[in-house]
């Protein structure tokens, strides 16, 4: 759904090829009904991309949730996304984690693999190399739990493919900035 140029208007602008950038945004919101729908509706309604989205309550007493959104767009679109998010009434803060130096991003995946004999042994060996944990096992299957950068999980999934990959469930990116400061 990305737009050809760095504009949100439907009038033709100069067809400059603007660099598309990846950004990870951390959005602090009131944990109230409908807040996630507001955020998602904003992205779909205005034609922005969501590459990954995670949400969970982070401060129970203050009723605060943190939404982590990975998105792509031209710098102008990214700026729009931030301002549009800030405009939502239950949104407290929007922080561009990528802007202030590369943020730490982690994802958790559960990977089910089915196989016998050699492929089973190989799967287990690879899991060990990736520091994945076995959380369920039968005589013909494993479920691995793996955390790490999204690329690491991608790589693990690719390796499991020929060894009998059944299905994958991933949490999406959760991210935090480096250093002592909070958002």
């Amino acid at each position: 759904m990305s737009k050809p140029s760095g504009t949100t208007s439907h009038y033709p602008a100069q067809q400059t090829v603007e660099q598309v950038v990846h950004r990870t945004l951390s959005v602090l919101v009131d944990n109230e009904p409908g807040v996630l729908a507001r955020v998602i509706g904003l992205f779909s309604g205005r034609g922005y991309n969501i590459d990954s989205l995670t949400v969970s309550e982070t401060e129970h007493e203050k009723h605060l949730s943190r939404i982590t959104i990975a998105t792509t767009g031209t710098p102008m679109v990214i700026e729009q996304i931030k301002h549009q998010l800030e405009r939502l009434v239950p949104v407290h803060r929007v922080v561009d984690l990528t802007e202030s130096g590369k943020a730490m991003e982690r994802e958790l995946a559960l990977v089910k693999v089915r196989g016998k004999d050699n492929s089973r042994v190989e799967a287990l060996r690879l899991a060990d190399a990736f520091r994945a944990r076995v959380i369920d096992a039968t005589t013909e299957s494993f479920v691995f739990e793996l955390t790490g950068k999204p690329e690491k999980i991608d790589q693990f999934v690719v390796l499991m493919q020929p060894l009998g990959l059944v299905e994958v469930s991933r949490t999406g990116i959760c991210a935090i900035s480096r250093g002592p400061e909070g958002m």
């Binding site: 208007s9 439907h10 009131d30 509706g41 309604g45 405009r87 009434v89």
Partner: protein, 586 residues
Amino acid sequence: MNKEMTGAEMVIQALLDQGVEHIFGYPGGAVLPIYDALFQQDKLQHILVRHEQGAVHAAEGYSRSSGKIGCVLVTSGPGATNAVTGLVDALMDSIPIVVITGQVPTHLIGNDAFQECDTVGITRPCTKHNYLVKDVKDLPRIIHEAFYVAQNGRPGPVVIDIPKDIQFNKGMYVGPKNIQHKTYRPKLKGDLEKIKQAVELMRHAKKPLFYTGGGVINSGSEASVLLRELVKLSGFPITSTLMGLGAYPAADKQWLGMLGMHGTWEANWAMHDCDVMICIGARFDDRITGRLDAFAPHSKKIHVDIDPSSINKNVKADVGIIGDVAHVLEDMLRLWRTGAVTPDKKALGDWWAQIEKWRARKSLAFKNSKEVIKPQYAIQRLYELTKDMDTYITTEVGQHQMWAAQHYHFQEPRRWMTSGGLGTMGYGLPAAVGVQMAHPKSLVIDIAGEASVQMTMQEMSTAAQYDLPIKIFILNNEYMGMVRQWQELLHGGRYSHSYSEALPDFVKLAEAYRCVGMRCEKPGDLDGVIKEMIKVKKPVIFDCVVDKMENCFPMIPSGRAHNEMLLGDAGVAIEDAITEEGKVMV
């Protein structure tokens, strides 16, 4: 004031505490308790409309003409969905209104109950914010918050969805004094460093131009006063969007007229050639910019807006100032007065000489006729005959709206109510009802088209019921004029379904509503009939039969730049003026 009462009573009390005097609405099953509470008091006046869309437009007209918040009360399901057009209209034009919708009882939500709809889901992208009340103890806080959210920051519509059981439940009422929104604190003061940069740019400008919008009007009457002062002091020319008309007096010499797709030659050329653009409370809408890559190509742009997302949305601003227009203008004026450098008088003189040349083209001129009423002439006469009176103008959407913007000249803010962003046909009549409620003694005229006005015609009945002497001035060309114009320009003159077939007899229609109907067909009779219309103290439908094929010029063809605009007398083959690329634009 803390007192136990029912949810329905809380609604009335909270509205009264918020200073609400009038509420537009329509009853139904899910709001009966609130209507019952309304019945048992006499401070809050309810105006019964004929369709919920009309209630919202009336509230918009009420709000825009008075600066107060417009209020609406409708039922669940169809009541809420009928209000949606009005909500989006208010959202696009940044009009502060609070809409209360009834909802089926809490335990039935999600069960596809009778007259149930997901009101908060449907209105989420149609409002600035919305609430579903799930506990009566939250109700007073939510109502007070809604009023705060609607009018602070960039104004907009707020919906409060109240299930019927909540309306019956009892709880403690809390007054507005004890309510503060947890987090929503829009920034009013602009960044002083940025304002300094802006004033520096203005001082060194050779071809400056003020480009102002509805934000000036929304910011309050103080903003218009400050704007006038700054424009006078600087000696710069000024143009405005459709939404901003009236913030600066049209009678003044520095006023260039409206800009944009149907703006004046001088305003659009000045916009194209300027070197410093001072955009105040406007949002670079596509109707203003035309082709973006050829938009004011040699200019440095200063953009003042209370909504950060407006800045750099369509057009990159060189100096973006986030803040309330009045606050920023105040700082600008102070800095302008105290600065050492004065603008280059010679350059400014040359700039004005150039502007006068553009002005001399008289781009709004039209060929008048003795046989048939030209729509522009009708507006001109209406203006001349009402300009010295206490007049408010609303419009529908289309050619008549553009002619009204071009030929009716506004000297004061809040006198001009038109659907700018959404372009809602049927806006003007109910809006006039709202304006007349806010200003019972003033002359309120809806400049209408015969197609638009039929979309909300039933509100004549509302006007009749409440003795609101609104005047519906229909420029009747028997076409959806703007649609016909585009079909002429873009689709080879194939007037697909744009002819107003089977029109009612508007005079008889007025009489059927127990109002007054008038018709005028000859230019010579026009003044007389308009004067008669003004004299009548009842609602009037004025059927002004005008030239059927008149087009609205000047016009920037879609996909073109400001310096490629067409004049009515240009005689160019218009089909050639619009590129293939331009044809897909709206």
